[in-house]
Amino acid sequence: MNGPGAGKDRGGKDRGGKDRGGKEFAAQALAARLPPLLVAAERVAATVAGGIHGRRRTGPGETFWQFRRYQAGDPASAIDWRQSARATPLFVRETEWAAAQTVWLWRDGSASMDWRSHPDLPTKRDRAELLTLALASLLLRGGERVALLSGALPPTAGGAALSRLAEVLAGESTASLPAAADLPRHAEVVLVSDFLSPLDEIDAAVRRLASAGATGHLLQVLDPAEETLPYAGRIRFAGVEGEGETLVRRTEDLRDAYAARLAAHRDGLAAITRAAGWSLTSHRTDTPPQAALLSLHVRLAQPRGMGAR
């Protein structure tokens, strides 16, 4: 895999500074392929701090909004002298109030993500972090603010935020599903995980977030071996997170049954997201990460609700 993902495919348990820097760099390179992301803000809360989404009203911002007559109390520096020279009254230049939206990111940092079926593949966690960072990079370049759902990173904007985000991600390991967070209403949430937990747990977590008014996207990252079950013979399968173990006598016999179960699980996931009005995307670690990023990009750029419909 040339290009974006190459820098981070080194994988491995050592998540040191070098690796982190590499991942950040790879994420930026990946994001550079896509245009800056501007999240379609449907509703703008008045409490949201200034940003670059036009609020269609005057306020602090950079885009010209209107001229109005000078009123007593306006500072002299606010007078637009060029406009005032055309007529008798003095005019003051007003700008449109721009506001940014915060996207709350979360990726699964549990042990099950630290797995790969072949040394040439990245672990699921590596791939998930890469996608998270690439998305953050896109958002930040679009002027949006990003935050971590786990609360480790408050909403931040600007180029330096990406470094901090990468740093926090590298040191953080979380449970398989996001905990309840103190989200502002109508927040935008992106969850990246393998979503192999039982469906009812996933459902509960999504409901918890959706009930706070958040809209979201689920990105399921899977290892190819988890989709195809390429093993044969007598194998004792052991869970990574203490799910128990099972002795399979002829693994090749189970392949179809396993595929059916996985499809059922996916259907369940889709149902959950549909019910919440969220969207679901799937990604395999043996495919290039650009595809997943592009699809996330499209979902985030769509007006709310369209992804689910």
């Binding site: 099950s112 993500m113 797995w115 699921k124 393998d194 192999l196 039982p198 290892d223 071996a225 988890e226 093993y231 013979g233 007598r234 194998i235 004792r236 399968f237 052991a238 869970g239 990574v240 997170e241 799910e243 128990g244 173990e245 099972t246 002795l247 399979v248 006598r249 002829r250 693994t251 016999d253 189970l254 049954a257 396993y258 179960r261 996985l262 699980h265």
Partner: protein, 895 residues
């Protein structure tokens, strides 16, 4: 004991376990190998899924075979298989008594004896029997001959491993007494490992051992041979040696005798054979008197043992000869004893003075020229000296002729009575012509010397014809008149030459015969053996193997009559006395003539070597089983996916081969190329290799001191594997054991020489290996060689040299004949036999390791200079060739 042909099992019951192998096979077959364990995040999706049929959870057949083989090997090992097993000892039949002859005669095949004892103890160990060991020679600490306390076979093994042959005879009588003191509550089986000699008490000992009640087995090996010291009164150019063996030995044998000097260099070697039944072999070791004087030791080649060595002391060495000289101021060619001195200087130690002074020293021979000094002046002293073994050699002359004419009292120091007046032949007033010599009589000391035709005698003194005259005449003129007469006086001789010792009366002194005659006369002398009386402290003593070492144990000083002292712990054979006067106390003449043992009836006598020793296969089998177990472990791990396949293969191969990964040739090249250094060819002989390394290190040190060539530590080259092209100079000590280089190595060396490398062949590093040089260099592209000339660049390249000695200064140096245009005219090979590395070799402190002979430190310095020249030659080529033309250039400049 179960025997299957040459294979036997000491614990055959263990073989019954082989019946369990099918059970094991069945067990292994029904027990599936444990499954691979795989960590899998999506295991939840798998939980509860059931496959329809049981997988082929069977162990692969080859794993099964591997495990069964390992089990079978363990079972076989437990059964203790032995190849050529000996008859086992009956278990629990009381202790085993092992009498071991550890006298001088057992040293010859001590290794075989020790192996036999080892095997015997192994049998005793298996039978679980305690062991008593009885060495029959008196121990070195002077204690009595006694049996060891009863011990287990393992403890006795340690005791016997430490047992060494002693340099003195066994004491079978004492051993018999020791056997008699053994406790007798149980019957004991006895084994007597005899040295084959019977000192008269062998039968007693055999009976005593037999009386222990458990039966007796007598085992003998090869009995040591005895090197008798040479007789002292042999002709000077040869040593008559005698080697004795057990009288009545039936088989023919070869025996090689060699004489070595004090530093171990072999000076002479001679072979002889024993005919069947012959107990004595006589060998004449021919060597020049110069070499003979350096002999320090004569031994039987390839045989160890104190009796196989005869040490030589001063009595075999150079004879001190006194020249009673009166006319020291006389002109060289006219001096009365000038020719005598010249003739004897190479072989004898000469001292000059008047008779009185000379008799103060130890003298073997006194040469007395004609002159005014009458021997009777010293009277009784001279007479006593002659009686004690001195040889007085007188020469006639005018004074003696005058004294004979005068008459008066008879000169007592003449072998014959002289007639008045001399006899002059061929003078102006004489009818006769000068007389030549008649052939020497067969009985005299000059027997066998060739008579040159050109010797003539002009004048002589004449003897009174008496009855004894013919017996006393050792040489006569052609007309029958005596020329040399001699008379025995006590142990000594009085000899008279009836003519002068210079050319005045005859030209005998000018002939080549004269030195031979004088040497024969000196050879008659017994030498000055006896140093001052009093006890002689041991200086160096022989051990049981015939090596000289520091005295220890109970060795004490010799005193009294040496012939009456018998060797033993108190007086081991060796060298006694202080530095000035050393006495060789040899075992050979003091052994007497023991006969071969004849065991009493009913006792079996077996010989070592008639039966092959048993070989225990148990360790080998256990090792093989262990290897199989390791392989099985690897296989099991690999089958469960716990071992990466490549790693498994590597570990398996490593375990099987047991070899470390090969060293990188790159490291060698890096080391060799990063700094300039000398190199030597590794011969495989550790001594030679160490010497080469030390020699080149010493030369590198000298080079760093004296020139700007700073060499790193020398390196050893393995011709087959290492590249040679990095080194300016390759030192190649030629040894006898070296094989010719392989084809690849030959190509490499030829290429090296073609590109300017210099190979120095040294045939002197390992004795005289010159004949092997031809074999080694057969395939090499060696150019035609010529002797190193005086104007060769090699003699000019740093120092101006005339010779190129090494540790020895023997033989010429060979270089390429005529400098070709290639490589600056540097000869690709330098061949010599001077053992240069030996002269260069220094230890860590920079002290030389070997003596340079004969030139000493001066020669070593020259060797270093030659080495510096050699390296400069290799490094700079013909840079100094102009030096050769310097005289011509100077001449041209001056013109």
């Amino acid at each position: 004991m179960l025997a299957l042909g040459p294979l036997g099992f000491a614990a055959p019951w263990a073989l019954g376990a082989l019946a369990l192998l099918p059970v094991l096979w069945w067990l292994l077959k029904i027990t599936p190998p444990s499954p691979r364990t795989l960590r899998f995040p999506a295991v939840r999706l798998l939980l509860g899924l059931e496959s329809r049929e049981e997988s082929t959870a069977r162990t692969p057949w080859w794993v099964l075979a591997l495990r069964l083989a390992a089990a079978a090997l363990v079972i076989l090992a437990v059964a203790q298989p032995l190849i050529h097993p000996a008859q086992p000892l009956p278990p629990a039949a009381g202790p085993l008594v092992i009498a071991v002859d550890d006298g001088w005669a057992a040293a010859r095949d001590w290794a075989a004896r020790r192996a036999y004892l080892d095997e015997l103890l192994g049998r005793a160990e298996r039978a679980g029997r305690p062991v008593l060991v009885l060495p029959t020679a008196p121990p070195a600490d002077g204690g009595p001959v006694a049996a060891s306390p009863m011990a287990t076979a393992a403890e006795a093994r340690a005791r016997l491993q430490a047992l060494d042959p002693k340099p003195w005879p066994t004491d079978l009588a004492a051993a018999t007494a020791a056997v008699a003191q053994l406790p007798r509550e149980r019957s004991m089986q006895a084994v007597w490992l005899s040295d084959g000699l019977d000192d008269g008490h062998a039968t007693e000992l055999a009976r005593a051992l037999q009386s222990l009640g458990g039966g007796l087995e007598v085992v003998t090996g090869r009995t040591g041979r005895v090197m008798m010291p040479p007789a002292t009164d042999t002709p000077p150019d040869q040593l008559a040696l005698t080697v004795r063996r057990l009288a009545g030995s039936a088989e023919p044998e070869r025996v090689a005798v060699r004489g070595t000097d004090g530093s171990g260099r072999v000076l002479g070697r001679e072979e002889a054979g024993f005919a069947p039944g012959q107990g004595e072999a006589r060998i004449a070791l021919r060597m020049p008197a110069e070499l003979r004087n350096r002999l320090a030791r004569i031994d039987i080649e390839g045989e160890q043992g104190a009796a196989a060595v005869a040490l030589l002391d001063e009595s075999w060495r150079r004879r001190p000869v006194g020249l009673a000289d009166v006319g020291a101021a006389a002109a060289p060619l006219l001096g009365p004893l000038y020719y005598v001195e010249k003739a004897l200087a190479p072989t004898a130690e000469l001292s000059r003075g008047d008779i009185g002074q000379l008799l103060d020293r130890d003298l073997a021979v006194l040469m007395l020229a004609d002159g005014p000094q009458a021997p009777s002046a010293t009277g009784d002293r001279l007479a006593r000296w002659i009686e004690g073994g001195g040889i007085l050699v007188r020469f006639a002359g005018p004074a003696l002729a005058h004294a004979a004419t005068e008459g008066g009292e008879t000169d007592p120091f003449l072998p014959v009575r002289l007639r008045a007046g001399g006899r002059s032949l061929g003078g102006a007033m004489s009818w006769t012509t000068p007389q030549g010599l008649a052939p020497f009589p067969e009985s005299g000391p000059f027997a066998g010397l060739a008579v040159p035709a050109d010797v003539s005698v002009n004048a002589q003194v004449l003897a009174e014809p008496t009855v004894e005259l013919a017996d006393r005449t050792w040489a006569r003129l052609a007309d029958g008149t005596p020329l040399v007469t001699g008379q025995r006086r006590g142990k000594g001789w009085v000899v008279l030459f009836h003519t002068t010792a210079n050319a005045e009366w005859s030209n005998l002194a000018l002939s080549g015969l004269f030195p031979d005659m004088l040497r024969r006369l000196v050879g008659l002398a017994e030498g000055v053996a006896t140093p001052s009386s009093g006890p002689l402290a041991p200086a160096e003593l022989l051990d049981g193997y015939g090596h000289l070492g520091q005295p220890g144990g109970a060795a004490s000083a010799l005193s009294g009559d040496l012939a009456a002292i018998s060797p033993g712990p108190r007086h081991p054979p060796g060298i006694y006395g202080s530095a000035g006067a050393r006495i060789a106390f040899n075992l050979g003449p003091r052994i007497g003539s023991p006969s071969e043992i004849r065991p009493p009836g009913g006792v079996a006598l077996t010989r070592l070597g008639e039966r092959q020793g048993e070989i225990d296969l148990k360790p080998a089998l256990l090792a093989a089983a262990l290897v199989l177990a390791i392989i099985d472990l690897m296989v099991a791990l690999a089958l469960r996916g716990l071992l990466p396949r490549a790693a498994a293969g590597a570990v398996l191969l490593g375990a099987l081969a047991g070899v470390p990964p090969p060293a990188h040739a790159g490291d060698f090249a890096l080391d060799a190329a990063l700094s300039t250094r000398l190199a030597y060819v590794r011969t495989g002989d550790a001594t030679i290799d160490r010497k080469s390394r030390a020699g080149l290190a010493g030369l590198s040190r000298v080079l760093a001191d004296r020139s700007t060539a700073s060499m790193a530590d020398p390196m050893a080259i393995d011709l087959d594997h290492d590249p040679v092209l990095f080194f300016p100079l390759l030192y190649w000590p030629v040894t006898a054991g070296q094989k010719a280089p392989s084809a690849a190595a030959v190509d490499k060396l030829n290429d090296y020489m073609r590109r300017g490398g210099v190979i120095v062949f040294d045939t002197g590093a390992d004795g005289d290996a010159a004949p092997h040089l031809r074999d080694i260099t057969r395939d090499l592209a060696v150019p035609p060689l010529a002797r190193l000339g005086e104007d060769h660049v090699l003699t000019r390249s740093f120092y101006l040299l005339k010779e190129a000695p090494g540790r020895f200064d023997a033989g010429p140096i060979w270089v390429e004949d005529g400098a070709g245009p290639a490589n600056d005219g540097v000869s690709p090979v330098v061949v010599g036999g001077n053992d240069w590395a030996g002269a260069w070799a220094v230890d860590d402190q920079g002290r030389p390791l070997f003596a340079a002979v004969p030139g000493g430190e001066r020669q070593r310095e020259l060797a270093y200079r030659f080495g510096v020249n050699l390296v400069m030659y290799a490094l700079t080529g013909n840079y100094k060739a102009d030096q050769v033309h310097l005289p011509a250039i100077l001449e041209r400049l001056g013109r």
